[in-house]
Protein backbone atom coordinates (compact mmCIF):
# COMPACT_ATOMS: atom_id res chain seq x y z
CA UNK A 1 0.00 0.00 0.00
CA UNK A 2 2.64 2.45 1.14
CA UNK A 3 4.94 1.42 -1.69
CA UNK A 4 2.25 2.14 -4.28
CA UNK A 5 1.76 5.57 -2.72
CA UNK A 6 5.50 6.31 -2.86
CA UNK A 7 5.68 5.22 -6.51
CA UNK A 8 2.84 7.63 -7.25
CA UNK A 9 4.62 10.42 -5.37
CA UNK A 10 7.83 9.71 -7.27
CA UNK A 11 5.95 10.19 -10.52
CA UNK A 12 4.51 13.49 -9.23
CA UNK A 13 7.97 14.67 -8.14
CA UNK A 14 9.45 13.82 -11.53
CA UNK A 15 6.59 15.58 -13.33
CA UNK A 16 6.96 18.79 -11.27
CA UNK A 17 10.72 18.86 -11.72
CA UNK A 18 10.36 18.22 -15.45
CA UNK A 19 7.98 21.16 -15.67
CA UNK A 20 10.09 23.58 -13.65
CA UNK A 21 13.66 22.40 -14.14
CA UNK A 22 16.29 22.67 -16.83
CA UNK A 23 18.55 20.11 -18.43
CA UNK A 24 21.82 19.28 -16.70
CA UNK A 25 24.16 16.40 -17.31
CA UNK A 26 25.11 14.33 -14.27
CA UNK A 27 28.45 12.58 -14.46
CA UNK A 28 30.22 9.95 -12.41
CA UNK A 29 33.88 10.13 -13.41
CA UNK A 30 35.78 7.09 -14.48
CA UNK A 31 37.31 5.58 -11.37
CA UNK A 32 39.46 2.73 -12.60
CA UNK A 33 43.12 3.81 -12.64
CA UNK A 34 45.07 3.79 -15.89
CA UNK A 35 47.60 1.49 -14.21
CA UNK A 36 46.16 -0.88 -11.65
CA UNK A 37 49.47 -1.02 -9.80
CA UNK A 38 49.47 2.78 -9.39
CA UNK A 39 45.94 3.64 -8.26
CA UNK A 40 47.14 7.02 -6.91
CA UNK A 41 47.78 8.20 -10.48
CA UNK A 42 44.09 7.89 -11.29
CA UNK A 43 42.46 7.35 -14.67
CA UNK A 44 43.78 9.01 -17.84
CA UNK A 45 40.65 10.99 -18.69
CA UNK A 46 37.95 10.62 -16.01
CA UNK A 47 35.59 13.13 -17.66
CA UNK A 48 36.18 12.00 -21.23
CA UNK A 49 35.27 8.40 -20.51
CA UNK A 50 32.99 8.58 -17.48
CA UNK A 51 31.59 5.56 -15.67
CA UNK A 52 28.07 6.95 -15.96
CA UNK A 53 26.36 9.97 -17.45
CA UNK A 54 22.75 11.05 -17.78
CA UNK A 55 20.91 14.18 -18.82
CA UNK A 56 18.26 15.01 -16.25
CA UNK A 57 16.02 17.91 -15.31
CA UNK A 58 17.23 19.90 -12.30
CA UNK A 59 15.17 22.47 -10.47
CA UNK A 60 17.47 24.98 -8.77
CA UNK A 61 16.19 26.26 -5.43
CA UNK A 62 17.43 28.64 -2.72
CA UNK A 63 20.05 27.19 -0.41
CA UNK A 64 18.58 26.28 2.96
CA UNK A 65 20.35 25.27 6.12
CA UNK A 66 18.37 22.08 6.16
CA UNK A 67 17.98 19.15 3.86
CA UNK A 68 15.06 16.91 3.13
CA UNK A 69 13.20 17.41 6.37
CA UNK A 70 16.31 17.19 8.50
CA UNK A 71 19.12 19.45 9.68
CA UNK A 72 21.86 17.06 8.72
CA UNK A 73 23.72 18.95 6.01
CA UNK A 74 27.28 19.55 7.12
CA UNK A 75 27.74 23.30 7.59
CA UNK A 76 31.17 23.06 5.98
CA UNK A 77 29.57 21.43 2.94
CA UNK A 78 27.09 24.29 2.76
CA UNK A 79 29.94 26.83 2.77
CA UNK A 80 31.44 25.07 -0.25
CA UNK A 81 28.10 25.03 -2.07
CA UNK A 82 27.04 27.59 -4.65
CA UNK A 83 23.76 26.13 -5.88
CA UNK A 84 21.29 23.51 -4.74
CA UNK A 85 18.94 21.68 -7.06
CA UNK A 86 16.21 19.08 -6.90
CA UNK A 87 16.48 16.18 -9.32
CA UNK A 88 13.79 13.59 -9.85
CA UNK A 89 14.09 9.83 -9.43
CA UNK A 90 14.29 9.06 -13.15
CA UNK A 91 18.08 9.20 -13.46
CA UNK A 92 19.70 6.13 -14.97
CA UNK A 93 22.30 5.84 -12.20
CA UNK A 94 22.40 6.56 -8.48
CA UNK A 95 23.05 10.30 -8.29
CA UNK A 96 24.50 9.87 -4.80
CA UNK A 97 27.61 8.66 -6.65
CA UNK A 98 27.78 11.60 -9.10
CA UNK A 99 30.92 13.75 -9.15
CA UNK A 100 29.70 16.74 -11.12
CA UNK A 101 26.84 18.36 -13.03
CA UNK A 102 27.24 20.16 -16.34
CA UNK A 103 24.83 23.08 -16.34
CA UNK A 104 24.90 24.68 -19.77
CA UNK A 105 28.62 24.86 -20.40
CA UNK A 106 29.56 25.18 -16.74
CA UNK A 107 31.04 22.22 -14.86
CA UNK A 108 29.86 22.21 -11.26
CA UNK A 109 31.36 19.89 -8.66
CA UNK A 110 28.91 17.98 -6.49
CA UNK A 111 29.47 18.93 -2.85
CA UNK A 112 26.74 16.80 -1.28
CA UNK A 113 23.78 14.65 -2.24
CA UNK A 114 20.81 13.83 -0.06
CA UNK A 115 18.33 11.24 -1.23
CA UNK A 116 14.69 11.28 -0.18
CA UNK A 117 13.95 7.58 -0.21
CA UNK A 118 11.04 6.27 1.82
CA UNK A 119 11.15 2.48 1.85
CA UNK A 120 12.84 1.45 -1.42
CA UNK A 121 11.50 4.23 -3.62
CA UNK A 122 13.66 7.24 -4.50
CA UNK A 123 11.44 10.32 -4.60
CA UNK A 124 14.10 12.92 -5.34
CA UNK A 125 17.70 13.94 -4.93
CA UNK A 126 18.78 17.14 -3.18
CA UNK A 127 22.11 18.02 -4.78
CA UNK A 128 24.57 20.72 -3.75
CA UNK A 129 27.06 21.94 -6.36
CA UNK A 130 29.89 24.47 -6.54
CA UNK A 131 31.76 26.03 -9.44
Amino acid sequence: MATAFYIEMAAVAQELIDENGRDVTAIRWKQAPAETTKPWEGPDDPRGTPDATDTVKACFVPIQGSGLGTDTIDQDALKRTGDVCLIGPGATFDLATANELIDGSVHKKVTFVQTLKPADTVLMYYVGVAR
Partner: protein, 145 residues
Protein backbone atom coordinates in the same frame (compact mmCIF):
# COMPACT_ATOMS: atom_id res chain seq x y z
CA UNK B 1 70.75 6.39 -5.17
CA UNK B 2 68.33 8.99 -6.40
CA UNK B 3 65.29 9.60 -8.54
CA UNK B 4 65.14 11.20 -11.95
CA UNK B 5 61.50 12.25 -11.62
CA UNK B 6 59.15 13.23 -8.83
CA UNK B 7 56.55 10.72 -10.03
CA UNK B 8 59.05 7.89 -9.69
CA UNK B 9 59.66 8.90 -6.08
CA UNK B 10 55.95 9.06 -5.30
CA UNK B 11 55.48 5.67 -6.90
CA UNK B 12 58.11 4.05 -4.65
CA UNK B 13 56.83 5.80 -1.52
CA UNK B 14 53.17 4.93 -2.06
CA UNK B 15 54.07 1.53 -3.47
CA UNK B 16 55.25 0.50 0.00
CA UNK B 17 51.83 1.33 1.40
CA UNK B 18 50.00 -0.54 -1.35
CA UNK B 19 52.13 -3.65 -0.91
CA UNK B 20 51.52 -3.67 2.84
CA UNK B 21 47.80 -2.89 2.48
CA UNK B 22 47.22 -5.71 -0.03
CA UNK B 23 49.42 -8.02 2.02
CA UNK B 24 47.18 -7.39 5.01
CA UNK B 25 44.24 -8.73 3.04
CA UNK B 26 42.80 -5.33 2.13
CA UNK B 27 41.73 -4.10 -1.31
CA UNK B 28 42.70 -1.26 -3.66
CA UNK B 29 39.11 -0.08 -4.00
CA UNK B 30 39.02 0.87 -0.33
CA UNK B 31 41.79 3.45 -0.51
CA UNK B 32 41.17 7.12 -1.19
CA UNK B 33 44.07 8.90 -2.87
CA UNK B 34 44.26 12.64 -3.51
CA UNK B 35 42.19 13.91 -6.41
CA UNK B 36 40.89 10.52 -7.50
CA UNK B 37 37.12 10.66 -7.91
CA UNK B 38 36.38 7.48 -6.07
CA UNK B 39 32.83 7.08 -4.87
CA UNK B 40 33.29 3.62 -3.38
CA UNK B 41 35.23 5.16 -0.49
CA UNK B 42 34.31 5.28 2.33
CA UNK B 43 32.69 1.90 1.89
CA UNK B 44 29.57 0.69 3.52
CA UNK B 45 29.79 -2.54 5.43
CA UNK B 46 32.19 -4.09 7.83
CA UNK B 47 35.50 -3.36 6.11
CA UNK B 48 38.41 -1.01 6.82
CA UNK B 49 39.38 1.80 4.45
CA UNK B 50 42.20 4.30 4.20
CA UNK B 51 42.95 7.80 2.99
CA UNK B 52 46.50 8.50 1.79
CA UNK B 53 47.93 12.03 1.69
CA UNK B 54 51.44 12.84 0.53
CA UNK B 55 52.76 16.37 0.96
CA UNK B 56 56.18 17.66 -0.04
CA UNK B 57 57.21 20.39 2.38
CA UNK B 58 60.86 21.27 1.73
CA UNK B 59 63.48 21.21 -1.01
CA UNK B 60 67.02 22.42 -1.51
CA UNK B 61 70.11 21.94 -3.60
CA UNK B 62 72.21 19.06 -2.35
CA UNK B 63 75.30 19.20 -4.55
CA UNK B 64 77.31 21.19 -7.06
CA UNK B 65 77.10 20.10 -10.67
CA UNK B 66 79.65 17.68 -12.06
CA UNK B 67 80.90 17.24 -15.61
CA UNK B 68 77.45 16.16 -16.73
CA UNK B 69 75.93 19.41 -15.51
CA UNK B 70 73.49 17.55 -13.34
CA UNK B 71 72.90 18.46 -9.73
CA UNK B 72 71.29 16.70 -6.81
CA UNK B 73 68.36 18.23 -4.99
CA UNK B 74 67.02 17.20 -1.58
CA UNK B 75 63.28 16.63 -1.19
CA UNK B 76 61.35 15.97 1.98
CA UNK B 77 57.76 15.76 3.10
CA UNK B 78 55.10 14.12 5.21
CA UNK B 79 53.12 11.01 4.38
CA UNK B 80 49.86 10.65 6.28
CA UNK B 81 47.84 7.45 6.10
CA UNK B 82 44.48 7.60 7.84
CA UNK B 83 43.12 4.15 8.56
CA UNK B 84 39.47 3.66 9.43
CA UNK B 85 38.23 0.38 10.90
CA UNK B 86 34.60 -0.56 11.52
CA UNK B 87 33.12 0.23 14.94
CA UNK B 88 32.55 -2.25 17.72
CA UNK B 89 35.62 -4.37 17.01
CA UNK B 90 37.75 -3.04 19.84
CA UNK B 91 41.37 -2.09 19.35
CA UNK B 92 42.56 -5.32 17.73
CA UNK B 93 42.19 -4.37 14.07
CA UNK B 94 42.74 -0.67 14.88
CA UNK B 95 46.15 -1.69 16.25
CA UNK B 96 47.23 -4.45 13.90
CA UNK B 97 46.49 -2.77 10.57
CA UNK B 98 48.30 0.52 11.35
CA UNK B 99 51.19 -1.51 12.77
CA UNK B 100 51.56 -3.36 9.46
CA UNK B 101 51.67 -0.02 7.65
CA UNK B 102 54.13 1.42 10.17
CA UNK B 103 56.44 -1.56 9.74
CA UNK B 104 56.40 -1.11 5.97
CA UNK B 105 58.06 2.30 6.37
CA UNK B 106 59.99 2.32 9.63
CA UNK B 107 63.71 1.82 9.01
CA UNK B 108 63.09 1.20 5.31
CA UNK B 109 64.98 2.59 2.33
CA UNK B 110 63.43 2.11 -1.11
CA UNK B 111 65.30 0.90 -4.19
CA UNK B 112 66.16 4.42 -5.31
CA UNK B 113 66.84 5.80 -1.87
CA UNK B 114 63.68 7.29 -0.39
CA UNK B 115 63.89 6.82 3.35
CA UNK B 116 61.64 7.41 6.30
CA UNK B 117 62.00 8.64 9.84
CA UNK B 118 59.76 9.26 12.83
CA UNK B 119 57.10 6.82 11.64
CA UNK B 120 54.41 7.20 14.27
CA UNK B 121 50.99 5.66 14.89
CA UNK B 122 48.40 7.99 16.43
CA UNK B 123 45.05 6.73 17.67
CA UNK B 124 42.51 9.42 16.82
CA UNK B 125 39.19 7.92 17.88
CA UNK B 126 35.79 7.83 16.26
CA UNK B 127 35.24 9.58 12.96
CA UNK B 128 31.74 9.06 11.70
CA UNK B 129 31.00 5.36 11.66
CA UNK B 130 34.64 4.29 11.86
CA UNK B 131 37.49 4.27 14.38
CA UNK B 132 40.43 6.23 13.00
CA UNK B 133 44.16 5.67 13.47
CA UNK B 134 46.82 7.69 11.64
CA UNK B 135 50.23 6.53 10.48
CA UNK B 136 52.52 9.51 9.85
CA UNK B 137 55.99 9.29 8.32
CA UNK B 138 58.55 11.90 7.36
CA UNK B 139 60.22 11.05 4.05
CA UNK B 140 63.33 12.23 2.27
CA UNK B 141 64.85 11.49 -1.10
CA UNK B 142 67.21 12.96 -3.67
CA UNK B 143 66.35 14.00 -7.19
CA UNK B 144 68.99 14.42 -9.87
CA UNK B 145 68.35 16.68 -12.83
Amino acid sequence: MSFSTRRAAITEILGLFRTAWLGAGQADNRVKYDNVGKTTVPPTGNTPWARVTLRHIAAGQGSLSGESGQRMFDRSGILTIQIFVPPGKGLAEATDLPKIIQDSYEGVRTTNGAWFQDVVVNEIGFDGDFFQTNVIALFEYNEIK
